[in-house]
Symmetry: C2
Subunit: 502 residues, 2 copies
């Protein structure tokens, strides 16, 4: 029997959920529909709601209620998990003094603006003082959170993105991967060089035909269009609100393959959002877990399912049909074999967002090492370009000719997102482990994909991941679903199977 | 030199403006983009923001600051006007006890749902108890506001829609119009019967061609697409946020003329919103005045400007060009004369929203009389259908065969919008008076319209209406702009000129 105090907390968090849902739609609208002249007014509306959200969450009465509810007991497991998540959100929100939040927001805004021109002009020296300010303030935020959460600085920052995840765990799996990848990448490149080179597909591929194909594949994967949308934005994302999951893409009429796989990636994020239990949506325990688990969902759809030979057997005829009015889709370039080669091509590249499944983790490990060193004071910002080049040489086997395609390529650090990068590769590894376990539990999983039937795959994810919300820490979620904590061998075996034998 | 207290008030209202702008975009999105499955979540998000808005506005500290600022003096005219509008908003928000607001919201929600089926099923008796509850609660709200504002009940309700407007003023002009319209309508019908009948335009008119034509005419009128949009919704409206004015329409491929004039109507609303001074947007004095003045802006564009022969001279070639790929636009049906006859056709009809410029005021006067009688206890709800039929016979000269096309046709009363109807016709009369004055000040106004040049017309409105925000009561605004308060003669002369001599 929950106390009135606990019920008051549920009401407070339902209200916060209302503000979150409003913010989600406003942000989506900003990226898809907003006329250019209303940037400033929209910024003010978003800031107003963010401040109201912060005030509601950090209300001293909230702290009192949390303490009372924790002391009172009488809660079932779900309510206890909900109360834990409430406390976690409260701790993160109250840990940092508001002057520090404000100073950081200002420094980030200035640094993001400067980053755009610094990247264009290859001007790391020009960005450095602003980036130093962001780093300094991020460190102070990390220290404030560390003291409130009883963690060290990096773990305290990481905890906001993937609750419960610790750097020690990242070190364990990244050390293993960093030892594996350089040699493995060389072997994959040799292997692919011995195969027929993928033939490019020649367009034009009209936007509307691309959109319809994307919608058809989203439907096959189980995207619910009565509770979501597909639209266009400069930078693809998955956003919106509860029961209103909106994904975006950006079409290129010369090449449909990237946008299409991008749509399936965002569909993976969306299926997670749409698969959370309806009755939990307004409460913290009903949220998706963290960024690493979220990325595991996008990557299990994109990398594990949709870049498989089985899925491409299903998708290839649909691709040919979608574009047959515009281009000749009868040739060998449109065969399953060639599409598979296109979708699994590996290259050493400079840019993380363009990287393939094999080299991507190396880009992430580099950034993880560098940001830990910078936050620990072991790497001065002035030495970042050199350290970047050394790390690229070691991990990816290629060195950027300038900072534009080196340490200036990502918005994350200028944007104040430190301790975020590792979630990408942890997501890839979790995806591999979940997909492997799902395939053992559902032997028809891969054959079904070749018929466009996602139900064994997504059904398993629904039960083991989506339906769990935030009721467990990510390690516990993964252990319950797969029988063991994160195991780099599964990811490595997946890579070997796909890139050295297929 | 404004006091810190006054500056605190400006900050509080800037915050309210942030919430208002968020609500405007969320409402627009609900009508244009929202997937059906998120109705409930969206309702909760909107309600959350509305409650937060109400709490911020009725914060006891707000009342204290208002009192202090009013006592302190030291404000310039603009600040004094702003403070008056702040007080007005505070009075309206605090006048009604929150239990009464809640009870009314519930009753309205239930009554609106019942109204949809009652209208479909022609079941006034079924709706009556729910409508009685809305009426009773509206009366109690009116009494609460009357006591707070020192007005009588109808004026207190009216003051929310058009601040400063009083029923005495409405009586003065509606009595005049009610005496004029029945006979005048008969004369117009005789006059039009003696002219060639308008030839219908035969489609199909593709949606995209209609949209492009609408955009072209919006641009001609001065709509700023860097601060606004045109989209599609079931019920056309003008909404969005400051610097982000979004109008909607609904296309019919069999008839483009209604949607096109609807677009120009909403463009009139939008030009008002876009024309308010940039520096005032976040403050109450920067708001558009009231619903009657707002309607005067839509109707001055639609009725005064765009249904004029001059404008149609400009628009006719554009219409022909827009649809020439789909239909034969060379015939006499596409002449300026015929388009003018189509756009000025008068008929006695049962439905207000389908009514023409001449008979529309009669529909409104009927509703005004009936709602005043019901609120005064002089007309029982059970007697409404009979009173409706009698009023229609007297004012429009036609009697509905059933309640579906009689007293069940409008959502306003079930929706709790009592004292709203008169603003439509007051808007039409203000539009005529403003347009007349503008034409005297700018002799090139009509000739310019025939060249698609709206600048003399809209330039005058910018200075005399848009730039004024809420700095004056509507009567003072009209007097300053035209040299006299609302004068029914100007509207009647406009009707006579257009419908008996052209």
């Amino acid at each position: 029997m929950p106390s009135q105090v606990y019920e008051d907390l549920e009401r407070r968090f339902a209200r916060l959920s209302g503000v979150d849902n409003a913010l989600g739609i406003l942000y989506w609208d900003q990226e898809t529909n907003m006329p250019e002249g209303s940037t400033e007014i929209r910024g003010e509306a978003l800031a107003t709601l963010q401040v109201l959200h912060h005030e509601l969450l950090t209300d001293p009465a909230m702290g009192d209620r949390l303490g009372e509810a924790e002391g009172a007991g009488g809660l079932d497991d779900w309510q206890q998990a909900n109360l834990r998540e409430m406390r976690r959100k409260y701790l993160h929100a109250t840990a940092v003094p508001s002057e520090l939040v404000e100073a950081s927001t200002k420094a980030v805004t200035a640094c993001e603006v400067a980053w755009r021109s610094a990247r264009r002009d290859n001007d790391f020296a020009g960005l450095k003082p602003l980036l130093q300010e962001v780093l300094t303030l991020t460190l102070r935020i990390g220290e404030a959170k560390a003291s409130a959460l009883g963690l060290d600085v990096y773990d305290a920052l990481l905890d906001e993105f993937e609750p419960g995840l610790r750097a020690k765990e990242i070190d364990r799996v990244f050390t293993d991967l960093a030892a594996f990848l350089p040699d493995f990448t060389g072997r994959v490149l040799d292997y692919q060089a011995a195969q027929p080179a993928p033939e490019p597909l020649t367009g034009p591929f009209p936007v509307e035909a691309q959109r319809q194909l994307g919608v058809a594949l989203m439907r096959a994967a189980g995207f619910d269009f009565t509770r979501g949308r597909l639209d266009v934005s400069m930078h693809p994302f998955c956003g919106g609100a509860d029961n209103d999951t909106r994904i975006t893409t950006r079409y290129d009429e010369a090449d449909f393959t990237k946008a299409l796989m991008g749509v399936m990636h965002e569909t993976g994020h969306a299926l997670y959002e749409q698969g959370r239990p309806a009755a939990w949506l307004a409460q913290p325990v009903g949220s998706s877990r963290g960024m690493a688990v979220h990325e595991s969902q996008s990557l299990s759809v994109e990398m594990q399912a949709c870049r498989s030979r089985e899925f491409l057997q299903y998708a290839a005829p649909l691709m040919r049909e979608a574009f047959s009015a515009n281009v000749d889709t009868a040739g060998p370039a449109w065969s399953v074999d060639n599409l598979y080669r296109l979708y699994t091509k590996v290259e050493r590249g400079l840019i993380r967002v363009d990287a393939d499944e094999v080299t991507y983790p190396a880009h992430v490990i580099l950034r993880y090492r560098l940001e830990r060193a910078m936050l620990a004071g072991d790497l001065a910002l002035g030495d970042l370009p050199g350290a970047w080049a050394d790390g690229m040489a070691e991990l990816v086997g290629i060195v950027p000719p300038d900072d534009r395609d080196g340490c200036l390529q990502d918005i994350h650090w200028p944007g104040g997102a430190w301790a975020y990068f590792p979630t990408y590769t942890l997501g890839a590894m979790i995806a591999a482990q979940l997909f492997d376990a799902a395939g053992r539990d559902e032997p028809d999983l891969l054959p079904a994909l070749s018929r466009g039937d996602f139900s064994p795959f997504i059904g398993w994810m629904r039960r083991n991941v989506h339906a769990q919300g935030s009721s467990k820490a990510s390690t516990d979620l993964l252990t319950a679903a797969t029988g063991r904590p994160l195991d780099p061998e599964v990811f490595k075996e997946h890579l070997a199977r796909r890139y050295l034998a297929n």
